[in-house]
Subunit: 441 residues, 2 copies
Amino acid sequence: MMISAAEIADYYSQLDQIGAVSTAQGKGFSRLAYSASESAAIAFIEQRATAAGLCCHRDAVGNLIVETAGSFSRWVETGSHLDSVVGGGNYDGVAGVVAGLALLTRVQQQHEKLTHGLRLRVWRGEESAAFGTASLGAWAAFGQLKPSTLERCYQGVSLAQAISAEQGNPQYIRQGRATISHDERDAIIAHIELHIEQGSVLEEQSSDIGIVTGIRGSIRNWVRFSGAFDHSGATPMGTTHRKDANLGMAYVMVELDKLVAHFNNQYPEHGQMIVQTFGMINDHADQNQRYPMIYANGVSKVSGFSYFSHEIRCCFSDIAQLFNDQAQQLIEKISRSFKLHVEIEQISLSHGVQGLDEQLQAVMASCCRRQKRSFSYLASGAWHDVAVVCQQQKSDGSRIATGMIFIPCRAGISHSAAEYSSYEQIAVGASLLADVMLCIR
Amino acid sequence: MMISAAEIADYYSQLDQIGAVSTAQGKGFSRLAYSASESAAIAFIEQRATAAGLCCHRDAVGNLIVETAGSFSRWVETGSHLDSVVGGGNYDGVAGVVAGLALLTRVQQQHEKLTHGLRLRVWRGEESAAFGTASLGAWAAFGQLKPSTLERCYQGVSLAQAISAEQGNPQYIRQGRATISHDERDAIIAHIELHIEQGSVLEEQSSDIGIVTGIRGSIRNWVRFSGAFDHSGATPMGTTHRKDANLGMAYVMVELDKLVAHFNNQYPEHGQMIVQTFGMINDHADQNQRYPMIYANGVSKVSGFSYFSHEIRCCFSDIAQLFNDQAQQLIEKISRSFKLHVEIEQISLSHGVQGLDEQLQAVMASCCRRQKRSFSYLASGAWHDVAVVCQQQKSDGSRIATGMIFIPCRAGISHSAAEYSSYEQIAVGASLLADVMLCIR
């Protein structure tokens, strides 16, 4: 089954009108979680699905469910979201919903003989931009959204009020009640999300498709160095005389960069097991307020205080922790050699998702070969709704089999009006997703 | 001739009362250039010198000149200053003035038979803290203080007004007229300043005396890197995918640190030819205002913009420039390998003083041996009044022979209330200075 770019373009001609805003980077979209514009986008999908003969309903927290008509005891699902950050693009999430609707529409209209039903879940509120938590609709559907989240406000409106305003029922969340029953959960053969990559690996490798191997979690630390402020002209070079916080930090960063390369070499089958980033150096407003000695640094002084943010991302939380431990030992060792006092403070910890189904990945790869699509295996750096589904148990104790398909996006740009994937790229992804959803048993 | 700690303590018992202020580090001194408290300190020295039978006069710009009584055709001078930064110590400059007064007093009182006169110059306004230029009095005495400096203001008072208020005549500066005549200049055999080290080399090497080989100048640059802000989770490691400004900068700093070590190894006779400092990274208020993209850095983003201050200090301005050129080539090479755009902007340039007289240094060394004082050769990182004298030509085209003696100060701390040298240490320096001043021919 080949979905065409024209079919994708048809949906986009309408979706491009919903929640559009102008930004410095051009036309963008502000379709916040549980906003009227998110509801309008969901209503459009529902209307087109109904017109195509598909069956639609909303769950109690406002997620839309679209199904092929007929009676099925087992289901293969796809799902993604229509909400965006403020001034974001119209592909993050949207591409997956449009692909799902396109393929279910074709299956419905071609009267394919199905061994299992196909289902599209349009989750609400995947972005954390408004209420500070990602995947609101997905967590709520499984009864796992923290009730306290309901009290969070965006522009003076609480999440509870926003859900009510968009015809949802916050009581389900308050009581931790799932909208997806145990029977429904047990009947899911697999759940596969299609999404834009939000990175540039596929573009650089000229791959049509990314088969996602896991979703990276993160460990984030502040690493702070205390040395001694000294006269830069009168204090000789070298650690006999200087306790140079800036210089010691530079050595730490370079050695950590070498450590991650060495570490990743131990896991060649994973490509890059760990990604590591030093996003901020001495320039974080809150840190500078907490540690005003940063302002004692000067052009003609040996630096007495410095810090950087150390982020470690990995699909495997035990391996992330192992690397974090090795990194801390290295940081402490180098700090000692520079006579610096070092302090490491954890900012946040989120566990990676390593449960994406390997059999599903094998099916994706064989479908790519059949469709003559080039593909790469890669980990997802960003969080996605499928990471919620992946953590759900069935009655027999097994997990729902989950998978994720990436399509390229231009220059890896996302969460920006400059975000872009072509209709052709989305159609290629939709065609592959259709093949995978139909051939799974 | 041995000056005793008691003699030094006697002067300090009075000087400790003049311009004292309380600071976070304890009792400090605020004796700004051409302030009433600087004048009070000068008046105290003048009063004690006169009482000891020495001859005193003030020049037109307020410098105090103290001389041994008698008629001499040739003179050996010492000189330093009594002003301080805001909340500074009572040793930076003051130790040299006190040492000079103590030794001239002894010479006068012991009726030493002199082959040449001894002179102490108490320069006004060595610190640039108030009016932004160092060695106001010394430059003015040689007719070389820029007239425009007179318009600079400190706390609403211009330098011209401050000089007038302290019984000086700003007209000399306005007209570029020297207060030291050509004859007076030609009669100077040598000029030697005693000063606290303002570094910790002597303390660490347990040396009583530092023989200064030169005064370092500086080249200061901003080095700015532009890369690309990217998602830290979705963008793989490595320069194929990342243009990481923070990481590239860290490699640059480490390689520059290795370069300076390699460079200095080529000049083993100079100890450390170059000192290099990265005082500020991403944390300079004015730079951040000029380059607000620094605020686009984030903990979970690959860094797209970064900068650091690069300071090179060296006594030899041609060698400083040579190193600066090599450093820039290295910075550009590493930036290219990280796919970063780099921009180097010079902040300031001041030429080092390499003219300190080598014969004088040999005399100092032999006097140290005679007095059984341990000594080290070292370059001065900070600027001093002697650097002005060093640049003055006599009628025959030769330069005034200049020298500089350092004494240790605790932990290298200066420009702080915690600045400290003991009376014993000052007395040891004064005794050596006396020996050197008397034995020069």
